[in-house]
Symmetry: C2
Subunit: 138 residues, 2 copies
């Protein structure tokens, strides 16, 4: 009897979590831009465009902009990154060497891999970066 009484509640929570919200449509620039969280970083901002606040429980989408001459912090962490370069020209540090990136580039950074990104052009270097839930969103 205890199990019969509890099961409907569990299902109700699942329904609300998975289809309770109306589709979110924004331009990435509408999300709040925050300073890239690293003292090494220069001219870099990040925006959480889809995250926990939207009910995204598995992974989080951020959009970063690096100004001309700018750079992110150099670091490694446990979680992976899935990156898509939207615009501009830049490079990523891979195993001690800078690899060129441009519009349409894709990067998969595994957990524990050291990485750093920089703008190598004059226009803003803009990229999408997806991380798993549980990691700091920004």
């Amino acid at each position: 009897m205890i199990f019969e009484a509890r099961l409907p509640k569990i299902e109700l929570i699942w329904e609300n979590q998975s289809s309770g919200g109306k589709m979110k449509v924004i331009h990435y620039s509408e999300a709040e831009a925050k300073k890239y969280p690293s003292e090494q970083a220069k001219g870099a901002t990040g925006r959480v465009v889809i995250g926990k606040a939207d009910g995204a429980g598995k992974f989080c989408m951020r959009v970063f902009e690096i100004a001309g001459g700018g750079v992110t912090g150099k670091h490694a962490h446990k979680w992976e990154h899935e990156v898509f370069v939207h615009s501009g020209r830049g490079a990523i540090l891979r195993d001690g060497e800078w690899v060129a990136l441009s519009t349409g580039s894709v990067v998969f950074i595994q957990g524990k891999e050291e990485h750093q990104l920089k703008n190598t052009g004059e226009e803003p270097f803009v990229f999408v970066c997806v991380i798993p839930a549980g990691a700091p969103e920004l």
Copy 2:
């Protein structure tokens, strides 16, 4: 003794899974383009740019291109989508109405929400779409 002998093996597997691979850097167009998997779809192709084959165990990045006049299938499924519009002009069906999308648009489609995307311009409409692991990659 059995436990002592087995623990190092488990750690070794974890190391390989989380940092064994060298960072993957490609242009999205290098990934194989496949026909969008729906009979309703027209002029739409998809590419898995980061997925299981790369060791991405939590979420999968795909890039879709819809040609002028093209459309994806209209459907709903259990898993969520995190979408970023890379280029072109299009629209997404939300609750029976078409909502305009352009370069830099972001869409969060929750699980079970019906959706369909179409190109409303002449240039290819290109967007990134991230899904959780376990869903069909394409």
